[in-house]
């Protein structure tokens, strides 16, 4: 096992469903993806889910069985499409290239197969941002290295001395090689971690326990100088049902990342863990993509809908695909200590109030004040869908309001004679505004105002289209308001106070 063959990663087939958003999905979306996994598992029992919307499998064995990688890729795409989801597949050397191949197939073909050994050539035109995080791509771009082809052509020794282990791994991927050499030999000791729940627990406490369990597992691995890129989550219900799934992560799995994957798996398993829901409507809240789907049977993981199997009895995490642990650099000023403390408090609060009740904000782009920040559940990593550092013509000029209503307050604005103020299609005002009432508050005289500022957004996307005219109003009590009129109705979007 010397020479290039030892370095070449396995042939990987990636299944990509564009209907699922890039970001970590909601629980309904995670649940619906179970159907796709079930369809893919008809071809190969070992399917690794990267995130809802993307999964991979080793292509070599199944391809030999159905008669070629092309046939396999086509058949899997057809099988998933038969269940009513959009799907593209790609085959290449290694996971990264396979995922890109699935995306490259998108406009015209269902599947794209990069021939054996052609991966480096296939990756060459992609920008370095596609592969590397900002910490690596930024310096590379400034050095004039813009594509993966340029990056792959750099001498490996120079990359290693300048960018360290992370850079070396990235360059190996860009060259169509395996990012990290797998740790040789199966681990002799049992490195899995198990927790039993007595009495059986609901999803929320199990996810809470999963984080502690993952920390325990990672600590045991770290003590042996290892870390893992794939973890097998095994859940057993009180009624004897079991669910096992492989989860892979692009980087190395952290304890929080493992807990999040346990959550996805449980969401897909117990159709309605939330107590207020009545005995689980079979196709209640699902993403638009599944609305038209023929009702596929529950996947391999599925407990039959409507059954409430008395909770979860045990959870087991098995580390899989071990790689040598390279450690990570701690912050210079002890930031890690602080965030550890914060993380613990956040997890405790989430156990108390639910995962989505504890959030941290991410600044985003947009014209209205409500679009300027996105609240992300603590522990999830998510970038704003619309970046903040782009020009947003017609955005509300600064300063930003201190109070932004998540749901706009209904309001009324009248002119001097008491008639409602309206705005015509050509943005002409019926009369100057004179008084305002917001929510159920009292009438306040308007002392200054500016507007109308018409905004027409997303007219190409009817359900999400908005067409409104915004005003800034200052009332007699010194408060300033950001008001908008849409379809003849006034509402207060924000308050400057």
């Amino acid at each position: 096992m010397r020479g290039p063959a030892a370095d070449r990663p396995a042939r990987i087939l990636a299944v990509w469903c564009p209907d699922w958003p890039e970001e970590p999905a909601s629980r309904d979306e995670a649940r619906a993806f179970g159907q796709v996994v079930a369809a893919v598992e008809d071809f190969c029992p070992v399917v690794e889910v990267l995130r809802p919307g993307m999964c991979i499998l080793g292509a070599r064995g199944p391809a030999r069985y159905v008669g070629g990688e092309d046939t396999l890729a086509q058949k899997i795409a057809e099988a998933v499409r038969a269940r009513g989801f959009g799907c593209h597949t790609g085959v290449a050397d290694g996971q990264f290239a396979a995922c890109l191949a699935a995306r490259a197939a998108r406009p015209r073909h269902a599947a794209l197969v990069v021939p054996l050994g052609g991966t480096r050539q296939f990756l060459a035109p992609y920008p370095v941002h596609a592969l590397a995080g900002a910490g690596l791509a930024g310096p590379l771009t400034r050095l004039g290295i813009r594509t993966l082809g340029d990056f792959a052509a750099l001498p490996a020794r120079d990359v290693a001395s300048r960018f360290g282990a992370e850079g070396t791994a990235a360059q190996r991927v860009a060259r169509g090689q395996q990012a990290r050499r797998l740790a040789v030999g199966a681990p002799r000791a049992d490195l899995s971690a198990t927790v039993e729940f007595d009495p059986p627990a609901d999803a929320e406490p199990v996810v809470f326990a999963a984080k502690g369990l993952a920390e325990q597992m990672l600590a045991a691995l770290a003590a042996r100088g290892l870390s893992c890129v794939r973890v097998r989550v095994e859940v057993a219900g009180a009624d004897g049902q079991e669910s096992a799934r492989l989860w892979r992560h692009d980087g190395l799995l952290s304890a929080l990342a493992v807990a999040q994957r346990v959550r996805w798996q449980l969401d897909g398993w117990h159709p309605a863990p939330a107590p207020p829901t009545a005995p689980a409507p079979p196709a209640a809240p699902e993403p638009p993509a599944t609305a038209a789907a023929p009702s596929a049977g529950p996947g391999e993981t599925g407990a039959p809908d409507g059954e409430s199997p008395g909770g979860i009895a045990s959870l087991r995490l098995v580390p899989d695909q071990l790689v040598p642990g390279e450690g990570r650099q701690l912050g210079l000023w002890g930031d890690d200590l602080v965030s550890d403390q914060v993380e613990r408090a956040a997890v405790r609060l989430q156990a108390m109030l639910g995962h989505e009740a504890v959030t941290h904000p991410v600044l985003a782009g947009g014209r209205g004040p409500g679009e300027r920040a996105v609240l992300v559940p603590f522990g999830d990593v998510r970038d704003a869908r619309l970046p903040a550092d782009r020009p947003w013509p017609a955005r509300i000029p600064p300063p930003d309001p201190a109070t932004v209503y998540p749901v706009p307050l209904p309001a009324d604005v009248i002119d001097a004679v008491g008639a409602p103020v309206t705005v015509t299609g050509r943005a002409d005002l019926s009369a100057p505004p004179d008084a305002l009432t917001a929510g159920s508050g009292p009438w306040l005289a308007i002392t200054a105002w500016a507007g109308p500022w018409p905004v027409t957004e997303r007219w190409w996307d009817q359900p999400n289209a908005t067409r409104r005219a915004r005003f800034q109003l200052v009332t007699e009590d010194g408060t300033a308001w950001l008001a908008a009129i849409e379809r003849g109705r006034w509402q207060i979007e924000a308050r400057y106070d």
Partner: protein, 242 residues
């Protein structure tokens, strides 16, 4: 010296010994590190310079409760100074927090923890947040039970956090409110909101008993908070800048 650092480390978890030594040198102005100077400074979290005059200690005294009349810019400004200096801030019960405005005043969104709806168990939620965050903002229900207040005051004394309560809190260290404000930049059908001149009054107990008042730009045209230099000079009209 070594002892001083390890003692401080207990008081300021999360700071490295180097940071503490630099802090000691900065405070005392020389490299002869004296603990007292650091301790007195370490018992106050920094506030924005414009607000320092309103607060008796020149900052947010650890273990204290401050109140503001509403969750507006003043409340965000109180939090922003500490956040900009590296503190974690928590906000409970304010679903309509203007994150962009807070960021504009210097708060760091990456160090914010929001619990928009803490529910009826809010005292427990706030106590948990105080374990992780140095400053916690909470919008109080109409009448916070005295028992919950006493319990949180105990948590603050032990942990050294700062609670900024939106609403009424009996025995608060400082009570801040905006008494007057006037917006500039906007007219009758023209311009846009640009800056606001606001009079802020601070009252309290102990060293804060004497009411302090000052005029601030809340916000200034660039979204920050600054002292209004023209205050006290009669007859200086605020020009509508447009």
């Amino acid at each position: 010296m070594r002892d001083g650092i390890s003692q401080l480390k207990g008081l300021l978890p999360g700071y490295s010994p180097d940071a503490l030594r630099v802090m000691g040198e900065t405070v005392t102005g020389n490299t002869a590190f004296t603990e007292d100077a650091v301790l007195s400074r370490a018992s106050v979290l920094p506030a924005l310079p414009a607000l320092a005059g309103l607060l008796p200690a020149g900052g947010l005294a650890k273990g204290s409760v401050l109140t503001v009349d509403r969750s507006g810019l003043l409340c965000l400004a109180l939090m922003a100074g500490a956040s900009a200096a590296g503190a974690w801030c928590g906000v409970a019960g304010v679903p309509d927090l203007g994150v962009a405005a807070a960021a504009g005043m210097g708060a760091e969104p990456a160090r914010l923890m929001l619990v928009p709806d803490p529910g009826p168990g809010w005292p427990q939620v706030v106590a948990s947040m105080l374990e992780a965050c140095e400053v916690v903002v909470v919008r109080l229900p109409a009448r916070p039970p005295a028992q919950a207040r006493r319990r949180l005051e105990g948590v603050l004394r032990r942990g050294g956090g700062v609670l900024i309560a939106v609403g009424a809190w009996e025995g608060a260290w400082v009570r801040l409110r905006v008494t007057q404000r006037s917006w500039s930049g906007i007219g009758h059908g023209y311009g846009s909101l640009r800056a606001c001149r606001a009079e802020v009054v601070a009252e309290g107990r102990g060293t804060a008993a004497r009411p302090r008042r000052c005029w601030l730009w809340l916000p200034a045209p660039d979204g920050t908070v600054t002292l209004d230099e023209t205050a006290g000079v009669p007859g200086v009209a605020v020009r509508a800048a447009w």
